[in-house]
């Protein structure tokens, strides 16, 4: 776009036409993506950068978690179970993969068999561990027989690792994924962009609304902001921080979408190490933290204060944010009882790859100083964090966001990096996994959350907000993210 001086108003007009396409014009959307996917195979990586592009847009699953967090039929038009052990799915007829072949029940069996096979190195083999047998009854009917009642079976079938792809395309999933989704992969220019184009044979009538979606990889948030203001991108979905929000909210060219996610930001304490092995110390630290101030200081006031692991998008969410209130006096008393009347020194290990970890750590360090816990912040690179903190639990304190939905299981795993090992909690969790009655299961979830608050294995700080910024006129973006997915099938420019 070359224009000088007096030509600028004309160019601005042209830009205006571009950003609000007239009826009948091609509907294109250019989206910033902060991270390039490490591959496009959802069955090989849990990376959210991959899910953002592929999940729901290129590949889909038998059932889907919709924008309200509800599990709805998708590639299966319905399902049936009489005993919560045998689930029969009835596939939608006439659904075609991007290579033109029709989806059959044998494809579903193939992908789930493959996910269960340890040789394929699926990142979440645990989600399929309960499946005993898969029987293809006919081309459109498939039955899963579970080894026992599994409450989360349907949810697991809706997750990103359960997407259905054609058997013949299994070797190219990493670079050229094929699915049944509303968009087809057109090109992936490594290091620069991924382009999706409309799937004209999509099985949902009237969708998708866009003709082309381009994901441009812009890692620097300031560069992304400049690109948005210069009109080079139409939307930034995850790339901008809360500090950019006030300025963009005032700008009439943009709309800022703020919603909930399942990304709970926590400060974990290594429960197997002194002094954190003492529950009084863990409680003292929890009482020493003023969570609303943390959200204000580190996140510009954006983010929901959290009391336990369960996020507000979960149907079993109970607001426990006031259960362990900020009370420095009580915190000091608890520390004294535990044998630390003068507090202690602690190392907080964070990975600056996630911007909020360092900021949050700085606010926490200042707050905990007041109860005598003197924190030294140590920044480590992400690869090191994964090896040292997550894998080997070589840490005292750390901050990270857990983006996965329904991840309370981590607290029932004594080998997880929290090193929280409580038999009562583990028993409750096991029971919740096999309880399908909604009311009874909810009761178990309430008990689990109460137990977690009491034991304070970690400090649940806040839910990282969903922050999306688009040009005015972009419609249909999900406000909340009940799963780490970014469904663009209903997104369109206002006419």
């Amino acid at each position: 776009m070359r224009h000088f001086g007096s030509l600028r108003p004309l160019a601005a007009l042209a830009l205006g036409l571009l950003v609000s396409p007239a009826a009948g014009a091609a509907q294109n959307l250019v989206v910033q993506s902060a991270t390039e996917p490490p591959g496009l195979d959802l069955t090989a990586t849990p990376a959210s950068a991959t899910a953002v592009v592929v999940f729901y847009n290129v590949q889909e699953s038998l059932v889907k978690v919709d924008r309200h967090g509800k599990i709805v039929p998708w590639l299966a038009e319905r399902w049936h179970t009489s005993d919560n052990k045998n689930y029969t799915f009835f596939l939608k007829r006439g659904v075609r993969f991007h290579n033109g072949r029709e989806l059959r029940a044998a494809d579903v069996k193939f992908v789930i068999d493959r996910a269960m096979n340890p040789e394929t190195k699926h990142p979440y083999p645990g989600y399929y561990a309960a499946i005993g047998d898969i029987i293809v009854k006919d081309d459109y009917t498939i039955t899963f027989t579970l080894k026992g009642t599994t409450a989360n079976f349907l949810l697991n079938m809706a997750r990103q690792g359960s997407v259905v792809y054609p058997r013949e395309a299994v070797d190219t999933l990493k670079s050229e994924p094929i699915g049944t989704g509303p968009y087809k992969l057109a090109e992936w220019v490594r290091g620069d962009r991924i382009v999706l184009v409309k799937n004209p044979d999509y099985h949902v009538k009237g969708l998708p609304k866009l003709d082309r979606v381009t994901y441009r990889f812009i890692p620097d948030p300031n560069a992304a902001l400049a690109a948005l203001k210069a009109g080079d991108i139409d939307a930034a979905m995850f790339g901008l921080g809360p500090e950019h929000v006030p300025e963009l909210q005032k700008d009439p060219r943009f709309q800022v979408i703020i919603g909930e996610t399942t990304n709970d930001v926590i400060m974990s304490m290594n429960n197997s190490r002194k002094p954190y092995s003492d529950v009084r110390v863990r409680r003292a630290i929890t009482h020493g933290i003023n969570k609303p101030e943390v959200v204000k200081g580190a996140m510009f006031g954006l983010g929901t204060v959290l009391g336990t692991n369960v996020d507000p998008l979960n149907p079993y969410f109970v607001d426990m944010s006031g259960a362990m209130p900020y009370d420095p006096g009580k915190a000091k008393k608890l520390l004294a009882e535990a044998g630390y009347p003068n507090g202690f020194e602690a190392v907080l290990r964070v990975a600056p790859q996630y911007y909020y970890t360092v900021r949050t750590g700085e606010v926490l360090a200042a707050q905990l100083q007041k109860i005598g816990v003197r924190i030294k912040i140590e920044q480590v690179e992400w690869g090191q964090w994964l090896s040292r903190v997550w894998k080997d639990a070589e840490y005292e304190l750390t901050i990270i966001g857990h983006a996965e939905a329904w991840d309370i299981a981590n607290y029932a795993n004594p080998k997880y990096y929290f090193r929280y090992d409580n038999a009562d909690f583990q028993k409750l969790f096991t029971e919740s996994e096999i309880t399908v009655d909604h009311k009874a299961r909810r009761e178990l979830y309430v008990r689990m959350q109460k137990k977690l608050v009491e034991d304070a294995p970690v400090v649940w700080l806040y839910i990282h907000p969903r922050l999306a910024v688009t040009k005015k006129g972009v419609q249909g973006i999900w406000q909340d993210l009940p799963l780490p997915a970014f469904d663009l099938s209903e997104v369109a420019w206002a006419k």
Binding site: S175, N222, D232, L386, R388
Partner: protein, 305 residues
């Protein structure tokens, strides 16, 4: 011989360092929400459990046959990945070098000729700013001015050469200026001091006394003699431009070699880290070799046996 020895040393060093550093490629692929068992199986499949010397010998044998391995992240041959990034990084570095030379030589020369006068002080003040401003910040300021406010160029990204020469050059203009700014400022100072040294030489005074024109005094007697230290500094700077490209390519979202390297280090994509390092090391050795050859051209007294 020295060329081969340098590359051999660099490849061995990088191979050991990236493997000894904490950070496991399998864990980075599987991520914190995947299962540790899956990560362990992946580690085994990637061959990362084998002894490092064995891995190195295997890598070296393949590299000598032109096979740099396959990227863990992209599942593509490393050689192909590097080749795909060169159409961005080479022109970017070249344009930054041109910007550096085209601004630093005249300004440095001008400052030397106006020694301790207003022009000299002004040139030094401007170059001081150039030295002090980090490249990424200069890049952001340039984006704000030329993309956001004036709308003359795109804020980032690479249009590609297939769309024509001008769109490609235009995508690289701002990053090249941001990249070359620091080095240009350094080179202004090197040029000024080198020219000042030569201007004080007897033969310059003699030339002037003989009535040789000022243009000839500067062009023939001064600049040529001052160029040896300038070329030495510029040679080192060319290598630094390639390093600087890592940050600038991120700011301008350019799919170049620097971003490939950065992404590969973060993801512990060992074959790519290894391949890019080898390529950059070879380039720097070649630049040094070219500088050595230039010495001979500039000063006929220099001879290599």
């Amino acid at each position: 011989m020295a060329f081969v020895a340098t590359l051999f040393f660099v490849s061995g060093l990088v191979f050991v360092v990236v493997r000894v550093l904490p950070g496991d490629p399998a864990l980075l692929i599987i991520g914190p929400e995947g299962s540790p068992e899956a990560a362990a199986r992946l580690r085994e499949a990637l061959g990362l459990n084998r002894p490092i010397p064995l891995q190195y010998v295997e890598w070296l044998t393949n590299a000598l046959q032109g096979d740099l391995g396959v990227s863990l992240q992209y599942d593509l041959p490393v050689g192909r990945l590097i080749a795909s990034r060169l159409p961005v990084t080479l022109p970017l570095t070249l344009m930054a070098a041109l910007f550096m030379a085209a601004t630093a030589l005249p300004v440095g020369l001008y400052a030397a000729r106006r020694h301790r006068r207003a022009g000299d002080y002004l040139a030094m003040a401007v170059s001081q700013i150039g030295v002090a401003v980090p490249g990424f910040w200069a890049g952001l300021l340039l984006i704000l001015l030329f993309s956001v406010h004036l709308g003359w160029v795109q804020s980032g990204g690479f249009a590609g050469w297939s769309t024509g020469l001008w769109p490609g050059v235009r995508s690289l203009l701002l990053p090249a200026v941001a990249l070359g700014l620091f080095q240009a400022a350094v080179l202004v100072r090197a040029t000024r001091s080198s020219v000042l040294d030569v201007l004080r030489e007897d033969y310059v005074r003699t030339a002037r006394a003989k009535g040789v024109s000022e243009l000839s005094v500067i062009g023939k007697h001064t600049l040529r003699n001052a160029l040896i230290p300038i070329v030495t500094v510029a040679g080192v700077q060319l290598g630094q431009l390639m390093a600087g490209a890592i940050i600038l390519e991120s700011v301008f979202a350019l799919p170049g070699l620097g971003r490939l390297a950065l992404g590969a280090i973060t993801a512990r994509d060992l074959p790519v880290v290894q391949g890019v390092t080898l390529f950059v090391a070879s380039s720097i050795v070649l630049i040094n070799f070219a500088v050595d050859l230039l010495y001979v051209v500039l000063d006929p007294r220099i001879r290599y046996d």
